[in-house]
């Protein structure tokens, strides 16, 4: 459900930029979604498609949603890489070092949601 408010922010921002750029139409919107955010990919896509299609400029916009895999650095054993995503944890990995089991780690990548680019007809 929190995907709704995130998408609302994206659509507002994108519309604001498109207007500033003098766009007649938004044709493509590229979003990068981190695996370690608590944003569900399919819900993001669902709300993005609905909300952008209801704007004046984005009626026909193509949505490209790219997933960015998580990378962590373990503060105990210095492991750097992905988390364990076997079994059910492919849905959302537990923040635990897959090598030594420590919970003391930093997230290096995959903790954000970015508006990467906007394609417009001007």
């Amino acid at each position: 459900m929190h995907e709704f408010s995130t998408v609302k922010n994206i659509v507002d921002k994108v519309t604001e930029i498109a207007i500033k750029e003098g766009a007649k139409e938004i044709t493509r919107l590229e979003i990068e979604l981190g695996e370690l955010t608590l944003l569900e990919e399919e819900q993001m896509r669902f709300w993005l498609e609905i909300m952008i299609s209801q704007t004046d400029l984005g009626k026909n916009a193509e949505i490209v949603l790219n997933k960015v895999y998580g990378v962590i650095q373990c503060n105990k054993c210095n492991y750097k890489g992905s988390l364990d995503t076997t079994g059910m944890e492919h849905l959302y990995p537990i923040l635990k070092c897959p090598r030594c089991g420590s919970h003391d780690l930093e997230i290096i990548k995959g903790n954000d949601c970015m508006i990467k680019s906007l394609e417009i007809e001007d």
Binding site: N9, H103, C113, M114, S117
Partner: protein
């Protein structure tokens, strides 16, 4: 056709707002807790008990988050401390902007401890930082034996966990040890306490662990 490159973080705004809240709280010397948990887990009852036991030693403020009602704020107000009700309307979690509006209506110069009671929900609040110092999650045996395992995102970040309604463990056939082991697996650093929100049992230990003196 034109391509506008942006590289704009959508979540940054939320993080910045949360950091601003934390800065304000730090300037005022306030320690703040985000109190999260399922609907009906006992968040308000435990806050009320903590307030009851600490209000003569500390100046406490509470932000009570709910969709549209004011029951929680009214219950805590009975303790005679400043309470602000933050209404989320339809939203399933508080956000740092709403919290900012709420705390600006509290006498911050006259508060040592702030409890922010989030909307009853074990999922969405885990995604949204508010700018607090500590996260306190309340779960209860009536939520069944798998509540911690089923919500790793919330429990893996908690500083304090209360397992509430422990008096009902036999009736619910829930093992407290199993719940504690589930938590240890996810988050070995969290402090976990058994509580009873009706009688106040276990609250003294929780308060001690939060480093407050009665």
């Amino acid at each position: 056709m034109k391509i506008v490159k942006l590289e704009e973080s959508v979540l940054k705004k939320v993080r910045v707002l949360a950091e601003e809240n934390k800065k304000l709280l730090d300037e005022k010397g306030i320690i703040a807790f985000d109190v999260m948990g399922s609907v009906g887990s006992g968040k308000t009852s435990l806050i009320k008990w903590i307030v009851k036991k600490l209000k003569n030693k500390y100046k406490i403020g509470v932000v009570a988050g709910d969709l549209t009602t004011e029951f929680d704020a009214e219950r805590i107000e009975e303790e005679g401390i400043p309470v602000i009700q933050a209404h989320t309307g339809r939203a399933c979690h508080l956000d740092p902007g709403l919290v900012r509006m709420a705390i600006e209506n509290l006498p911050l110069d006259d508060i040592d401890i702030l409890f922010i009671e989030n909307v009853g929900n074990l999922i969405c609040p885990a995604a949204v930082p508010l700018g607090v110092h500590k996260e306190f999650v309340v779960t209860s045996v009536t939520e069944g034996p798998y509540m911690i395992k089923k919500h790793p995102y919330m429990f893996q970040r908690a500083d304090y966990v209360a397992i509430n309604k422990v008096d009902l463990k036999e009736a619910m056939n829930v093992s407290i040890e199993d719940l504690k082991n589930d938590l240890k697996e996810l988050n070995p650093d969290a402090f976990v306490y058994e509580t009873n929100g009706i009688t106040g049992d276990g609250i003294d230990n929780l308060i001690k662990c939060m480093n407050f003196q009665q």
